[in-house]
């Protein structure tokens, strides 16, 4: 019950006037030559000691990408990206995949400690003091620029049969699994940024949960862009085999820089019969300054395939960062009785632009989906929800419920809702609710009359607005998310 109070207190205790993750780590790096060409792709593939088929897969994507156009339909506006002016690969110098944490560069360990991400296994994500034994345990894969620098709890996961490792390592140790599933959800033809990712992706996490296994702890990947002018292209692949379950968390930050940085990730989820993946993201890339200078371009393709019957995918996202967000975590509901969920909080402030939503594609019989989206716009930002719900001819009994709420703070921001609904089966039932409201002066005054400062009042009202979605997050992430929400709305009123 004191969650709101806690938030208010936590926000107070944080130095709020700046993006607190904006520091830079001084570490020497080794980069591929600037720009993109076949040789750079060969360089990346060689660095990763990849099999020949993998290199070919990349080169095919590159050839296709050269023929593709950057999409323009989203409600976002940014100057032309010069793809030849970027580095596509960067790794800490003298990097050798560490065998244990003791081998990880202390500067990097310090970076993660500063970010509140524990690589020491006894600590937890939110850094809260919890007595031994009651601590939720989270296995972390830490990706620094283009490479995974540490993965924790490896032994314990291995005992449970769970595979959790950098995808580059999985390519060497479990090539058949990777080959079977990689690109099976997001095909090479999918979209401009996904195809680019396929050509140049550097690292990311690979997860395989064997049949009937409930993963013994939360898994998480923490992405950090450090290098200048470096794109980050990670690729995540998670497979939940029959009857298994896993909860996966993803977090990210970057230093404050005046130039924009490109992040084009791909996440693929595959869920077989009666299995479930819960995927949560707290996205906090550097959003740029108040005038819109700098910040991350976050162009991400996330898709899950509910391949088996009664399989389930749940996407939960808290999006507070990035100069531009372009992302639509989706579910392909193929298996009979499968279900997809999308819970989203997207906050934009300053000059941020968000075009985000989901796609629920009902292919199988009696498939269900649920979308709860909360958009909050402040400052001079623009926040668009874009969602597709479709039912294939054969998707008898498909059902969807969509609820899309927008909250405006101030007079200079925009909120937009763009729903696409296509039902080719007459028995499909789709429900759509949408509201747009302004944070009311009267409500803030009421809170202030009871003693809350204006900022606390805004935090309280916003936390109330997003509560349904926050409740979907694993507990430690919910605390983190509440903090982020309050911080990202600093200075949004008055």
């Amino acid at each position: 019950m004191a969650a709101v109070q806690d938030t208010v207190e936590q926000v107070r205790s944080i130095d709020v006037d700046q993006y607190k993750y904006g520091f830079e780590t001084d570490i020497e790096s080794e980069k591929a030559p600037k720009g993109l060409c076949e040789d750079v792709i060969r360089y990346i593939s060689a660095k990763k000691e990849e099999p020949e088929w993998m290199l070919q897969w990349r080169l095919d994507a590159y050839a296709r990408w050269l023929t593709m156009q950057e999409p323009e339909w989203a409600r976002v506006d940014y100057p032309q990206i010069d793809y030849q002016d970027l580095y596509y690969y960067s790794q800490p110098k003298a990097f050798k995949a560490p065998k244990s944490l003791d081998e990880v560069d202390p500067e990097i360990l310090k970076t993660y400690a500063k970010l509140g991400i524990p690589l020491r296994e006894q600590e937890i994500l939110a850094g809260v003091e919890i007595p031994e034994g009651e601590r939720p345990r989270i296995a972390v894969d830490a990706v620094f620029d283009s490479v995974s620098v540490a993965t924790t709890f490896k032994e314990e996961l291995k005992a449970a049969g769970v595979i959790f490792m950098p995808i580059s390592e999985a390519l060497r140790e479990h090539p058949d699994l990777v080959k079977q599933y990689l690109g099976s959800v997001v095909p090479p033809t999918d979209n401009y940024f996904a195809t680019l990712n396929q050509a140049v992706f550097s690292d990311g996490s690979f997860v395989y949960i064997p049949p009937g296994v409930r993963c013994p702890m939360e898994l998480s990947t923490y992405f950090r862009i450090n290098e200048k002018n470096t794109g980050q292209f990670e690729r995540t692949l998670i497979i939940a085999d029959k009857g298994s379950y896993v909860s996966y968390l993803e977090g990210c930050t970057a230093p404050m820089r005046d130039e924009n940085q490109l992040h084009a990730a791909v996440v693929e989820l595959v869920v077989l019969d009666d299995a479930e993946i819960k995927y949560s993201t707290v996205q906090n890339w550097y959003p740029g300054d108040a005038d819109g200078k700098g910040g991350i371009y976050n162009f991400v393709t996330k898709r899950g395939d509910c391949r088996g019957k009664n399989s389930k995918i749940s996407w939960t996202q808290v999006e507070t960062g990035s100069a531009i967000t372009w992302k639509y975590p989706s579910c392909v509901l193929r298996g009979e009785g499968s279900s997809g969920e999308f819970y989203s909080i997207a906050i934009s402030n300053g000059r941020q632009q968000v075009d985000s939503g989901t796609k629920m594609i009902h292919l199988g019989k009696n498939t269900t989906s649920r979308i709860i989206s909360k958009g909050i716009s402040a400052g001079r930002s623009n926040n668009t929800y874009r969602g597709l719900v479709s039912a294939h001819r054969k998707a008898a009994g498909a059902r969807n419920f969509t609820n899309c709420d927008s909250l405006l703070i101030g007079d200079n921001c925009g909120a937009h809702t763009v729903p696409y609904i296509e039902a080719k089966n007459p028995t499909a039932q789709f429900e759509h609710e949408a509201t747009t409201s302004k944070i009311s002066e009267d409500m803030l005054f009421y809170c202030m009359q009871r003693g809350l400062t204006q900022e606390d009042a805004v935090a309280l009202v916003v936390n109330g607005f997003v509560r349904d979605v926050l409740q979907q997050l694993p507990m430690e992430f919910a605390v983190e998310a509440q903090k982020l929400i309050s911080i990202s709305l600093e200075g949004s009123v008055g």
């Binding site: 409500m443 009871r450 003693g451 607005f465």
Partner: protein
Amino acid sequence: MAPLLEIKDLHAEISGGRKIIDGMNLTINPGEIHAIMGPNGAGKSTLSYVLSGKPGYEITGGEVIFRGVNLLELSPDERAAQGLFLCFQYPLEIPGVSNMAFLHTAVNSQRRKRGEVELTSPELVRKVRELGQTLGINAEMLKRPVNVGFSGGEKKRNETLQMMLLEPYLCVLDEADSGLDIDALKVVSNGVNALRSPERSMLVITHYQRLLDYIVPDVVHVFAAGRIVHTGGKELALELEATGYAQYQNEAA
């Protein structure tokens, strides 16, 4: 003894609009209960907003001293922490924020501003439950979002609960009786009366003598056209019930 509240020749208008408070004077001593009665549109609610610092009003003259400080210089939350409580005519709804969490945040915000020790969750919960019981507010209502879906009477009980918990020095009640059935009226009045103390004062805005049977005032003012035009004892409320405001409106004009 220093007065608790002193309003001296106060003039206020709606920002960019017309003048509503027009040369208002009022002194309230600690422990006193003052009732304000007056025709619709006279500016009674506006007075309560100006006192509590709601945005949208311009003070064009006069001053307000509350517990020795210049009230008009404080932000709304500072005024609240100083001990000014406004019982809203139309309490606001806050979706998604539980009543209990709201109370906790409010109490501790004020305590922090005053440099007092904050209440822990168990302390607060105990206190709120106790007060809730006297007002017929059960645990379920405390879990629900603030005022969302509450009936008119429940909202007023909830306002009273907040007031009892926050223990202000001056309670401004704006039509606390509107929308209340007889039983609720008694419950709310009992709550208000329980708060009566030698240090605490009340400013009760109402249209009906009925409320003043339960919350017995020391002084009754007639408020018309933006100022107090007549003052009397509690019997004045009865007179007004019989005669209406016509004579005072002429006086004010």
